[in-house]
């Protein structure tokens, strides 16, 4: 079926096109304002955006090489599987929740500050600005990079390890001759992916960065729209942001990276290897440090969350309202996301079958990668465009629900597609000819054949999209108001008004909700019917 696919492509085009129209109209209306925005301040913001992303990438990927190598050298110590699952958790944790956990641990009034002052070592400066942004990016990306690099190491055939031990290679030689070649092919892609995530990072910079000295383009777009009311400046910032992400994606795809990242990892086959004692000690230290880095903030979320008055929070009308709205938006976004993804997956498959090995058409390419194109244009940019377009209609805040649902739906499409496409294509290979012969088509086919086979991958995509949408503080930061709030928005406003305990309680609630959904998504994806 290509018609739903064309509709889905049209929908995405409308969403992005509307945003661009908004930006173009504003630029035309206030051309001097838009061009005047290209000043030294803009240069500094663009520079900082790249600088923090580059630093974050180095600080995440370089240690990840050591951690991945350590994990690969010790394929079966107790708790290894658990540790790898732990490393997958940040992927499902909303950025705003993680930011709160990091502040609760490393902040000026955090747990670490208590320990430092109790030990009489003076005042703990706390994380703020660049240091806060870097710590947060490392928290998210070091585990991700570790998992991806470990996967690269696991591609080394077992025979090579046997050969290495038969030849009596020592650690240094094994690294140089076996591990490094495997890592070297993966590192550019992994680094590019991390860089991309850091360039487009919004929530972490908004909550942990500070002042004009530590602001990225996305946060500056948000501030120019919500606080300074300078739409012309927002347009200029958006143009720079798009230019940066397009350039980044271009370089990324040249390096052969998978922009959406991979949440799944094959569990290592057991391949015990002898290591020298010094090295074992070093590896154990690396693994323990990485585990502490990931566990610390998570423990802080739980510890500070439990200090909040959870009973009062759970009955507070504002919280209940935000929770209800969050759930409605997330379900809507997940539903739409799965629908759009399925339409594109079906269209791609149909076009691929029809062309019989010839050249791929533009339409098929769009259907295959259309979802990932969204990554070039971050949600804040789409939101900003529509915000500027609707600004004068007086309807900016009344369209908030539509904006949140549609943008989050499109944002989750790469992940939903990942869950749906392999199952859809496999089912199509098995069933297409049979259905054609027996005359099973249309609604009958959907009910009898496709739904029973695809409901699990669809549910996986749904849960994944719902978790992403539930935890997102992107579009809602632009469009949120007293009447339209989500949990992340409420959490952010409580942080802003120094109701830290409330924020901690909400973070715990939101974090658990999202992790439960991620867990569900993974379970549904793994089990066979």
């Amino acid at each position: 079926m290509t018609r739903p696919g064309l509709f889905a492509l049209g929908f995405i085009a409308l969403l992005i096109g509307g945003a661009f129209a908004g930006l173009a109209v504003e630029a035309a209306r206030d051309w001097s304002g838009a061009t005047a925005a290209f000043d030294a301040g803009m240069l500094r913001i663009a520079g900082f955006t790249l600088w923090q992303a580059a630093l974050s990438t180095v600080l995440s990927v370089a240690p990840a090489i050591l951690v991945a190598r350590a994990l690969s050298r010790h394929p079966d110590f107790p708790g290894r599987g658990l540790l790898l699952r732990l490393f997958a958790v940040p992927l499902g944790l909303p950025a705003i929740v993680a930011a709160l956990g990091l502040l609760a641990l490393y902040g000026r009034a955090g747990f670490l500050a208590d320990i430092v002052s109790a030990a009489g070592a003076g005042r703990w400066p706390g994380i703020y600005g660049l240091s806060g942004i870097l710590v947060a990016h490392v928290f998210f990306n070091l585990p991700l990079a570790t998992r991806l690099l470990l996967a690269a190491l696991e591609t080394v055939p077992p025979d090579q390890w046997r050969l290495a031990s038969q030849l009596g290679m020592r650690s240094g030689a094994v690294f140089r001759l076996i591990e490094w070649p495997a890592l070297r092919t993966a590192i550019p892609g992994v680094a590019a992916l991390v860089f991309m995530l850091c360039v487009t990072s919004f929530t972490l910079v908004l909550t942990l960065g500070g002042g004009p000295g530590a602001t990225t383009l996305e946060v500056a777009i948000y501030q120019s729209l919500r606080f300074d009311f300078e739409p012309a400046r927002a347009v200029a910032l958006t143009v720079v942001q798009i230019a940066l992400t397009v350039a980044a994606v271009f370089v990324l795809s040249r390096l052969g990276a998978d922009v959406t990242g991979d949440a799944n990892l094959p569990v290592a086959g057991s391949r015990p290897r002898a290591t020298e004692r010094m090295e074992t000690l070093l590896n154990a230290t690396m693994i323990a440090l990485a585990a502490a880095l990931v566990l610390g903030p998570m423990a802080a979320i739980v510890a500070s969350g439990l200090q909040a008055d959870l009973g009062r929070l759970a009955t507070e009308p504002a919280v209940l309202k935000a929770t209800a709205q969050s759930l409605v938006f997330a379900v809507g976004a997940a539903f739409l996301s799965v629908l759009l993804s399925l339409s594109l997956v079906a269209m791609r498959r149909k076009l691929e079958t029809a062309r019989k090995g010839g050249r791929r058409s533009i339409l098929e390419t769009l259907a295959g990668t259309g979802a990932s194109l969204v990554l070039v244009i971050p949600p804040i940019v789409i939101g900003a465009g529509w915000f500027v377009l609707l600004r004068n209609t007086g309807g900016v805040f009344s369209v908030a629900p539509i904006m949140v649902v549609t943008v989050n739906a499109v944002m989750a499409m790469p992940f939903a597609t990942r869950a749906i496409r392999p199952a859809y294509d496999a089912a199509a290979i098995r069933n297409d000819r049979l259905c054609a012969q027996l005359g099973i088509s249309g609604a009958t086919r959907a009910r009898l054949i496709d739904w029973p086979e695809l409901r699990r991958p669809l549910a996986t995509g749904f849960a994944f999209a719902m978790a992403l949408s539930l935890g997102d503080l992107g579009v809602i930061a632009l469009f949120g108001s007293d009447s339209v709030q989500t949990l992340p928005y409420l959490l952010y406003s409580r942080m802003g008004s120094y109701r830290t305990q409330d924020a901690a309680g909400l973070a715990l609630l939101l974090g658990l909700l999202c992790l439960a959904l991620m867990w569900l998504a993974e379970r549904l994806g793994r089990e066979k019917p």
Partner: protein, 241 residues
């Protein structure tokens, strides 16, 4: 009961990548024909063209008096059994066979009776509620035969239907197909790599090579010592494998 009708491929052309295939062949009503040939020679493509999974670039396909060239697969008087994936994995055996009566599974009492009858005819009585994964490879192919029976289409195409079965089962299945042919009189084309299957089932054989019919005649003759060079080379190759 005699379902069989003649089948004719009249200058049927089909472009497959670089190779241009072309098929000309006539099959009499109720005949069984073995289709042999090297991998990639176009055997499956020929069957796909008859069944309607591929559309020819020129020529006509005639079943009985009817030109079916432009008909969709489900409208053609043809059933096809594939090497595998003949059953929907999530549906039980009864439903899988009954789909041959009603593609929406809206079944009359008569449909149900016909389904049960066909299942027992292929030796699967009592296994109606099983899922395909609970069956052996041979049983799955029997179920596919049962569905071909309830569809009552005059032409049956089989694409290496026994390829995944052991020697004992193959002989058994070939015997079953022979029995069903005698009962129904269906016109049958069966693709196989096994000279034994061809000899056991089909008095006539066509040999497909490089996208066209390279030889056509009595199976015994083509597979015998006096047969064409290409067929002997192919059989020798497949026997030594």
């Amino acid at each position: 009961m005699n379902l069989g009708v003649p089948l004719r491929l009249d200058g049927v052309g089909f472009a497959y990548g670089e190779t241009m295939m072309s098929f000309d062949v006539s099959v009499a009503a109720s005949e069984i024909v073995a289709v042999m040939g090297p991998s990639g020679s176009g055997k499956t493509t020929m069957l796909n063209l008859i069944a309607g999974f591929e559309t020819p670039s020129k020529g006509r396909i005639l079943v009985g008096d009817r030109d079916v060239t432009a008909d969709p697969p489900s409208q053609r008087p043809v059933s096809m059994i594939f090497q595998e994936n003949n059953l929907f994995a999530h549906l039980d055996l009864f439903s899988n066979v009954a789909l041959g009566r009603s593609p929406a599974l809206r079944l009359s009492a008569e449909d149900r009776a016909a389904t049960l009858d066909a299942l027992s005819r292929v030796g699967l009585a009592g296994k109606e509620a099983r899922r395909p994964r609970e069956l052996s490879g041979g049983e799955r192919q029997r179920a596919a035969l049962a569905r071909a029976l309830v569809r009552r289409r005059p032409v049956l195409l089989m694409d290496e239907p026994f390829a995944s079965l052991g020697p004992g089962l193959r002989a058994e299945m070939a015997e079953l197909v022979g029995d069903l042919h005698r009962e129904t009189g269906m016109t049958i084309l069966v693709v196989t790599h096994s000279p034994e299957d061809a000899l056991a089932l089909a008095p006539r054989m066509v040999f497909v090579d490089a996208g066209r019919i390279a030889a056509d005649g009595p199976t015994q003759h083509l597979l015998g010592h006096g047969g064409p060079e290409a067929v002997r080379a192919y059989v020798g190759q497949s026997r030594s494998r």
